[in-house]
Amino acid sequence: MWKKQPDHCFSMSEKKVTILKKSIVELKEVNKVFGSNHVVKDLNLTVEEGEFLTLLGSSGCGKTTTLRMIAGFEEPSSGTIQVEGESIEEKEPYERNVNTVFQSYALFPHMTIYDNIAYGLKMKKVPKTEIVERVKSIMELVQLEGFEKRYPNQLSGGQKQRVAIARALINRPRVLLLDEPLGALDLKLRKQMQLELKRLQKKMNITFIYVTHDQEEALTMSDRIGVMHEGIMDQIGTPTDIYEHPATKFVATFIGETNIFEGYVTEIRKTDAESKPILQVAVENGEIIGSGEGFQEKEFLTISVRPEKMKYSMQPVEGFTLSAQVKDFIYVGSVIKCIIVLPNGSELKVERLAGEELPPIGTAVYPYWKKDDAVLIHSMDHVVFNAVDDAELV
């Protein structure tokens, strides 16, 4: 009896591992060029089955083009895209287990809501009785019962969005591509739909690839976020990863609020074997410290400190020679945003909890942080440079 136990455990854990690691969409060295415009540069991306992956970036960063290439609406200029282990080049869009929710909804204006939702099944020649059943259940799922006979122009933005989602989900795709699906909705509805989408994704266990420019939306919904900037995937990781350990200056500034310092390393101190070396960095207004590996003396770097990690003291703190003046307090509910100004006029944001005692405006303070709370980023961004070098070959 006892002999079987470890066996069983082993198989269970192995199974779990394979489920987690199975990739469903794979992009390798994908480039897309429109005329003289290099839109997507050397993109490598593996999407795991059942995950909610968000492509995040400002407009024109190549995220929508990437999505459209996965959908098969655009062909990559070079590189390969595989869905479920098969290259998509050989398949027409109608042959794939991938469906898209369009930013503009793209509902057929001449069809009723029922016909819109049933369209995919009708095209696949599913028996009529089954279509009726499946449309009914999907309409319940997206809470659209009773709208069967209406036309798209009789629906509100949020309702149209639900129809677009239902129309895609009814085909039971393995991967659902969503191109800024909530972009046209007002804030309250958007928040509500975010949660609903997440619920649907969990419930139906479908892989979602979601494109948005809204960092808050990305942080709320995603299992992983890929941040794109000028056609390059700057960083891909969990929301915490991206927020706590941004790999580039762009990621640091694009996701959440932060304070950025540019400077160069004056000294590297190795304290003990376990912790990371401490770096003394000279910036425009003085000296600061941080900790990180892989940096050299005299190297230029960028340092990012989140407002909630930024502190100030009434006395100078060891390692820091910055001095500043309190300029303003902004109350944002549970936290107070404190603005302090450095001698050169640049402002730092410091978050304090409401109820804390605040110094009067104009007080001289000394900003500092725990050395591990500063994120150090190589200024000569090797990611960007590599991609630009390769781009010339295309």
Binding site: A106, F108, Y119, M123
Partner: protein
Amino acid sequence: MKKHTWKSKTLPALIMVGPVSLWMILLVAIPLIYVVIMSFCGLDQYYNVSYRFTLSNYARLLNADYVKIYVQSIGIAFLTTMLCVLIAYPFSWLIARTRSRHKTLFYMLVIIPFWTNSLIRIYGWRTFFGTTGWLNTGLEALHLISEPVQFLFNRGTTVLGMVYCLFPFMVLPLYTAIEKLDGNLLEASADLGARKAATFMEVVLPLTSGGIFSGCIMVFIPTLGYFFVSDILGGGNSDVIGNLIERQFQSGNNWPLGAALSIILIMITLLMVRIYQKLGGDLDSLGV
């Protein structure tokens, strides 16, 4: 004070609308009323119009010879319309959806021939097809034929001339309808598993049907009246209603009968427009 109001409100309106109204009254309304009155008039023994009420003109419209021409005209108009749709649809699709910067050029290629009088262009075809025309001389030079072939003066050449003349009227509404079509819908359809043919039948055709129908009306109705095309290219073998009307006013010298025939043509036109409206068509896209 009152005078000031009249000047500032009525006068500008009068200046803006006045000339158009005058134009419409003089050149459309009065002639139309005249035609209606004329259609109920008779003829005296010297073939002059005598203004006394009679229904005899309308009674003569049911003459078997005339009915034959109505049927023939409708047949020619139907064939012309079908050919125009079949040629213009792919063509309009091409120019409406191309990303080429020559888009305007393609469009102008349809419009520019319009600037030449259609009568002259139809004579051009006659020269081309004639027994001493380019086609015959060319074929003879190639020794494909030994003596000139009579290509002209049949229903085929009439339809060809009609299609040639009215083609732009089909292209314009089709172009507008196809250009308005949202490309996302085609992608959505493909995304949902529809093949190209299914996308065309389910999405493209229903959404451009307004353009197709207004194009059809704009080709069908003029075809019934384009007498000069069948005169020049049909040689009297493929008359349309327009020919009947023309003959009554010219050689027949029977204006009241010609007027009655015109009324019939107007009735057919209105009937077609009515059907168009019933099918959900928009009058604005007909340009009326």
